[in-house]
């Protein structure tokens, strides 16, 4: 693949960045009126987000509903055209790419969806679902069936299953088909949007293991969007925590879990119950108050201040910058 410009950057360890997002904004207008629509407000779903993902790395993106994590994923895939900012993929700015170029790029950037029930066409067989992207991109001509069989085996299904329809599969098997569809065109980068959230615990572990296994085999890079902190800890190398359109903390895995800096990250971690009564008995249960405010009317200053246990006067006025508090460990909080 050719790059129109050579803006490939490297991270602190000298690894090449596959994706680099700079100051990304995605605002949705809220309109009123049936005939003469006028904009009455703006939902700042993603509001000035920057991060990068190195080749072969998994970046976990966590946050609660409405924090903008899915919108961010959609921007990277260019389902949405961002309001402002840049998304450099292999050095090429996706926000400037044409429709035709985007179609080419989607060979390289794929997505795995949350719901294995609604993301597969019930009228297509597993083989057709996996074969469709091959046809669209003109790949594996003349050996489509062979490729489908290959993919089915890769995701832990058997080639004979190609003729079956989605309703004949269980939830976990359907998610394997969804993964197979994403892998069919041999991408290098995959956005996993809550890819294991809808699955039962016993099946979830199978799919997490499969995704990690595929990453090793195929040298994949993941943007792993999820709300489950324990799951993200298992798959991600680095983690970004989002709240109301902003990244509030960004660090390698262990520092995020062992020494979280941002009060929101701390609150999230404290809220997750550990599956062990002995541990839970000894644990202190600090519960933050309130719920995520409406993104239509976000709080002034630090967006987290109304729920923050350590916020003071200054936090209500000043918007904290995401800054590098320790090497590689970024946080957006005035108090750290």
């Amino acid at each position: 693949m050719t790059s129109s410009s050579s803006e490939v950057t490297t991270n602190a360890n000298g690894q090449e960045n596959l994706l680099e997002v700079r100051d990304l904004q995605m605002h949705f207008p809220v309109t009123s009126g049936l005939v003469f629509q006028k904009t009455v407000g703006l939902v700042k779903a993603v509001d000035g987000v920057s991060f990068s993902i190195a080749k072969g790395e998994t970046l976990g993106l966590v946050g609660e509903s409405g924090c903008g994590k899915t919108t961010l994923g959609h921007c990277v895939l260019r389902f949405n055209k961002p309001t402002a900012g840049q998304i450099h993929y292999k050095g090429e700015d996706l926000t400037k790419a044409s429709g035709r170029r985007l179609r080419e790029l989607r060979k390289d950037i794929q997505m795995i969806f949350q719901d294995p029930y609604s993301s597969l066409n019930p009228r297509m067989t597993a083989g057709q679902i996996i074969g469709e992207p091959l046809t669209i991109h003109g790949l594996a001509k003349g050996r489509t069936d062979e490729r489908i069989a290959e993919i089915l085996t890769l995701v832990g299904l058997s080639p004979e299953m190609a003729s079956r329809y989605p309703h004949e599969f269980s939830g976990g098997q359907r998610q394997r088909i969804g993964i197979g569809r994403a892998l069919a065109v041999d991408p290098s980068f995959i956005v996993c949007d809550e890819a294991v959230s809808a699955l039962d615990v016993s099946i979830q572990a199978q799919i997490i293991n499969l995704l990690k296994d595929l990453q090793r085999k195929l040298e994949l890079t993941y943007l792993f969007i999820a709300h489950d902190l324990a799951v993200v800890r298992h798959v991600a190398d680095r983690i970004a925590v989002m709240y109301l359109g902003h990244i509030v903390e960004l660090a390698p895995r262990d520092p995020i879990y062992d020494e979280p800096l941002h009060p929101y990250t701390k609150a999230l971690l404290a809220a997750v119950p550990v599956p062990d009564p002995e541990v839970e008995m000894k644990r202190e249960h600090v519960i933050i108050k309130g719920e995520v405010p409406s993104p239509l009317n976000p709080p002034s200053g630090c967006v987290f201040h109304p729920r923050c246990p350590i916020a003071d006067e200054k936090c209500t006025q000043t918007i904290p910058e995401l800054r590098e508090v320790r090497p590689g460990h970024w946080a957006a909080c005035l108090k750290v």
Partner: protein, 337 residues
Amino acid sequence: MSALLEIQDLQTHFQSDMGTVKAVDGVSYDVEAGETLAVVGESGCGKSVTALSVMRLIPNPPGRIVGGQVLYKGRDLLTLSNDEMRKVRGQEIGMIFQEPMTSLNPVLSIGKQLMEPLTEEMGMTKQQARERAIELLASVEIPDPARRLNQYPHHFSGGMRQRVMIAMALSCDPSVLIADEPTTALDVTVQAQILELMKQLTKQRGVALVIITHNLGVVARYADRVNVMYAGRVVERSSARAVYGDPRHPYTLGLMRSVPRLDHPITEDLEQIDGQPPNLAALGQGCAFQERCRFAIDKCAEERPELIEALPDHYSACFVATELGTTPTNQSQASTS
């Protein structure tokens, strides 16, 4: 100790194109006054259908309670008339559902929905019911309750709606509260708030709480006793400590090991339970878990194990239950199914 609610050999079947689905296939468990009991299991294990059967809310057709008893204070709820059952719902047993948005009527104000059972069932006057409704909203920590009484469900956030549902379920002073996945649709910080609130309110009022969930963390934090369900049956039952600390059913053991934990070091791969949940319309004569079980013996394919007391006050429906305790904790790296 006498049980407040006792489910005995309950069987609820559904008719489908694929045949009879035995969603609940001989479930027995009891709930004691003031305790928190968890019913844990994955989708399709029958945990919700059991609860709906207790409330006699199974849509018929396609569903039907075909056997068993549900004894509440010694009375079999399955033999009550519809009118008698109406009084049990709410006044004796309250229920909270997963989706607070779909359980509230969108075109009626919160106040109206809260006051209806108070005037209809409890015989209060409008004024009394209004005062009680304000009290109830205050008890679930909804700020400015008098004003919010006149608002509609869409004015409330997800967490606030679930608080309203709790207020409603407790409005007629039931002795048992059944909460079916009460926090699954909520964010993790709100989930913690709601669970703490439920635990605290039921403790205060001496209400027995039954939490139905798939979340092993929630069970560990809140439950006194646990029933683990699989394929329409209870496969393990004991105190939460015993079930988590010394699981005696291979399915429970598998669940505990496959869930990623924040307090454990990260292993390269998670231990997984291989295979898929069974088809409930085509269960064989053996143990429903045997195909996925790494401890299965020949007998498991031929005969279905009954729930028996494997250790003192620790029940398991497994032929090898007593041997499981000696299993090394990290014994397998299973392959993908």
